[in-house]
Amino acid sequence: MNDINILGIETSCDETAAAIVKNGQEILSNIVQSQISLHQKFGGVVPEVASRKHIETITAVTQEAFARAALTYQDIDAVAVTHRPGLIGALLVGLSFAKSLAYALGKPIIAVNHLHGHIYANFLENPGIAFPCVCLVVSGGHTSLLYMPSHHEYHLIGETRDDAAGEAFDKVARFLGLAYPGGPSVEKAALQGQPGLYKLPRIFLDRDDFEFSFSGLKTAVMNLWRKLEKSGEADVNNMAAEFQAALVEVLAEKTLHAAKKFQVKTVLLAGGVAANSLLRSTIAEKAQVQGMQVFYPSLSLCTDNAAMIAGRAYVQYMRRDFAGLDLNAYPGLLSL
């Protein structure tokens, strides 16, 4: 069979990304133009700034993806693009670009759900992952547990009631005066501190379901911090360590509980928060005891990128799951 090369385009949040992946496996190029430095001064993503920067950089990023892959436009078999969920203005830039390119080249267009892309990042590096699996998707916008019997079936078994885990990292970091994005800065501070010196709640840990809530944890941090400041005992590193420990413990326990309940032997982590080393090591240790295998993408594939989009699109390509040129973008998840 001929090789299938798919161009992936991803502009759902603050990265402008293009990548070419061969046969859903081999990354020929993976270009990510991050806007993080641009957003740092605002302490978060500024959507309108994001859309404008996507427009400015998407052509160059795509050209670079072709140059690194040493391919011409005609060498690709399809154009894949993230169409949900994300910032609507940002998504539309990638979508319009991808549709125009696909139309001009006479190639099919494949609409990829950003979360499916994050999950697929695991398969890019580990082709032999066995189904069924339980997957924890944790990022700035999502905290979801899924049961996946196959590549094409996603059953949502639990998600956050309020804030996403990554959002809690960002908000707590900002409150404590740590840098944006909050994940790496809290993790770094936590290394200098000790968990357990301050006591934060493990919210919903005692519940026999797969729901999460991080808004209360965020409030508990702020409440305790205000009191510690008054008594002059506030230590940002110890607070970061306890916050991270509280959040990770709940994520890890619920994920392992889901894996046991659904009797799977494979656990997948995905999304930007899956880059957190404490989360990785905690879940890996607990899973090993249970005889389960844990997979998580390498750091560069945890955060937003287009290789995961092009990789995921290969599965859809094989099923001839193509979109029309009337494809639209949606900010919300709608369905998994």
Binding site: V46, T160, D162, T219, M222, P331
Partner: protein, 157 residues
Amino acid sequence: MELIIRTEEDMNKLGETLARILNKQDVVCLHGVLGAGKTTLVRGIARGKGYQGRVTSPTFTLMNIYQAQEPIHHFDFYRLEGADLIDLGMEDYLQKELCLIEWPEVGSGVLPGEAMHIYISLAEEDYDRERLVQIEAGGEEGRRKIKELEQIVDTGC
């Protein structure tokens, strides 16, 4: 008007009561520090309007839409510091469908003067304690609604 809210459950209930006086032209701005209870109040309003699904923080997507009896638009401008709002397309919804806006401060130039403003503050900056809720309105219709609310709500004061 001013109210004292002692529990999360009471904040939900206040939202449910507010739902009875709000209709689709209304714009409600919710002010308060992180963790004050803004999203909880929105959840109560959505429940009061018959929406049973999830009400989560729209910080990431900027806007959630809840398909209640009539659609409810839940905005969050937390991440919009320093940027203008014109391109967000808000004018498609404002004063046409019910809009509930968290962190509305950066939108003051775009939001209608008749908007209702709800300020939630912590008693002595202590998250464990009660919340003080102040409700104000810019327009005649809003002030009439607050009078109506005063008749049907337990102010806790």
